[in-house]
Every structure is written in structure tokens, then in C-alpha cells.
Symmetry: C2
Subunit: 201 residues, 2 copies
């Protein structure tokens, strides 16, 4: 099934090359620079040829987002199961891949397809990693515990609260950092991040 014919393998490789070129263009020039035509030109083919491999710009973006989710999830999973390391891995991935991080959590450039079931599943999988890796935090207040229990299924509400809190704070810090909001003010993000992680313990 993996190598089901020469044709299929060629097709898979071509899809990968398109995605690589797309990521390259995303890195330099931002999301609005991601152009089907430009990718085709970079690959030496011309224009509509890419529609053999992707239904359109939207499917390509969705695919990039799914890949980014998987990549971020595995990067965090590879860290030791201690909060400082998890947080550090999250931040390191975001700094190393700011454009992909924006793709995941930034403006809904796709937007409308934000509720594609595959995307929801990928996001759920990512947060599940936090559930599996994070220890319990403070015991939530009763109304919050109620909501958390309904949401997280069998997971301990204290763990769920810790995971969601960590995600929210990490996302806040990291998204401000990758937009340069700290550096543009001359503030070194490192010690501040350490303090935030300390507060998460």
C-alpha cells in the first residue's frame, strides 16, 4: 500500500515538493505571498499543473496546517515530561517556525475551513498530548471543575485546568514574542519566559 505503483510514488513526491516550496514562500513574505503561480514557477512547471495535486489553494493550506500540527505535537512529545521542558519545547518550535505557528493559531487565513473535521481532530490530538504529559495543577473552583469534567471526559479536572492554563499562557507569550512585540520594545524575552514558566509550576 505504501508503494502502490510508480505513479503513486511520483505523485506523493510531487505533493511533498509543492508543500516544501509553499513553506519556503511562507517563511519569506508571509501568508499573502503564498501563491499557486509562484510555487509552480519555482518548481519549473506552469500554473494549472499544480491542480493535479491539490484541489486548490485551500486544500494546500489545510495540508500545511495538518503537517504543522503533527510537527508541533511531535516536538512537544519529544520533550521530557516536566513542565519547564514542555514549555521550552513549545516555545522553541514556535520560534523556529514562526510562520507555521501563525498558520496554526494566527488569523484564520483559511478561516472558513477552520472547522474542517481533520483540523479539529488534529487540534484535539495536540491538546491530548498536554493532558498526557502535564501533572495536576491547582484544584479548580466548583463551576470551573464542572465545565472541565464535561469537556475533558475522564481526565482529572485539575490536570485539564493545568493543561489549558499552560496552553493559554504559553500561546500568549509565544504569539507576542514571534510578532516581535518584546524585541521591538527592547525587552529580552528569555528571563520573562522563565518567570512565566515558574509561575506555571
Amino acid at each position: 500500500m505504501t508503494a502502490g505503483g510508480i505513479r503513486d510514488r511520483f505523485r506523493a513526491q510531487m505533493r511533498q515538493e509543492v508543500k516544501d516550496a509553499a513553506l519556503r514562500q511562507l517563511a519569506e513574505g508571509g501568508p499573502q505571498a503564498l501563491s499557486i503561480n509562484a510555487i509552480a514557477k519555482e518548481l519549473g512547471v506552469s500554473g494549472p499543473a499544480l491542480y493535479r495535486y491539490f484541489a486548490g489553494r485551500d486544500e494546500l493550506l489545510t495540508e500545511l496546517i495538518l503537517d504543522a500540527y503533527a510537527d508541533l505535537t511531535s516536538a512537544v512529545s519529544a520533550a521530557p515530561r516536566r513542565m519547564p521542558d514542555l514549555a521550552g519545547a513549545y516555545r522553541a518550535w514556535a520560534i523556529a517556525n514562526p510562520h507555521r505557528y501563525r498558520l496554526l493559531f494566527g488569523a484564520p487565513l483559511p478561516g472558513w475551513n477552520a472547522h474542517d473535521e481533520r483540523l479539529v481532530a488534529a487540534a484535539r490530538e495536540a491538546i491530548d498530548v498536554l493532558f498526557a504529559f502535564v501533572g495536576p495543577g491547582r484544584e479548580p473552583e466548583p463551576p470551573l471543575a464542572e465545565a472541565l469534567r464535561a469537556w475533558a471526559g475522564g481526565v482529572d479536572p485539575a490536570v485539564a485546568l493545568h493543561a489549558v492554563t499552560a496552553w493559554s499562557r504559553l500561546h500568549g507569550f509565544v504569539s507576542l514574542e514571534i510578532e516581535g512585540n518584546f524585541l521591538s520594545m527592547g525587552l529580552d524575552p528569555g528571563p520573562f519566559f522563565a518567570a512565566e514558566v515558574e509561575a506555571l509550576k
Copy 2:
């Protein structure tokens, strides 16, 4: 200077009408729906007429961002000078104006102009409001205190730390909330926000 002639007043009003139409289109359809042509059509003029009032799409967006900064700043300034109220005002503005909040902190749709000096000044002004309104938090560790002192000028490092921490956490929560990340998981954001604000005290 304010009413320097009929022509000038007409021009100012026209600019405002263009911005209003732009905000309307931004609200329904997202940033990629913001089209010079569509605005012109909505205003009953045709195409290039708008270039009499704005140098281009970019200047229009920059203007919208500056307005949004001013609006958010004044909304937060109007709240009582207690952290729960400040946080509540910040969140309420973001929920009431999600598209404008994304314009400020979401993807750098403008991007290249992210370092326009007027934008940096507006952002600095916004954070200054927090400085003025927020009380001191925990005393920062020495290296962090160093960085904060260098950054915030005469402001007490403990106040600066509190302000930046609050901003970072609020932004994390709010940006997740306006993208529907909580609701799409069936989690009521209200109690969780209250818990986060409590932790900020």
C-alpha cells in the same frame, strides 16, 4: 485647523466613510474580503476614486490598526483601575471587535509595515496605559528586574512585570477565545477567564 475649509472637511468625512465601510467588510468575511473595489462599490463610487483618499490598501489597513489601538486603549482606560476590571474591559473589547483584535495582534497581514513608527508608538501608548493602571505584582528575579528596568524607564520593575504578565496572559486567553478554540471544545470560557484573572492578582 480643524475646519480648514469645506474641501478639507469633506475629505475627512470621506476618509471616515471609507474606513467605516472597510470595518464593515472586515467584520463579515475577514481580512481577505477587504477589497478596495468592494468598498468603492459600497460607497457608490468606482475603483480608483479611493486612491484620492488613501495611498493604497496598506495605508488603509495601517489607519484601521491605529484606530483600533486608540479604541482599545480608551476602552481599557475607561475601566476602574482594578485588575479584574481592566482584564474584563480588555476581554470585552476583544469579544466585541474580534476582527479588529486580530488586526492588532493576529497575523501580520500588513506584516512588512509592522514596524511603522506610528504603529510602534501606538502599541507603546497602549502598554503605557497598563503601566499607569496596574499595581505592583511579585518582585521580579534580579536578571528579569534588570531587563525590565532597562526597558520601562522610570517605572517600578514590579509594576512593569505585572503589566507585561497581564498583557501576555490576557492576550493568550483572548486570542484563543475569539478564534473559538474554547467553544469548539464545548468549554465555557467564562469561569476559566475568572480563574486566570484571579491568578493575576
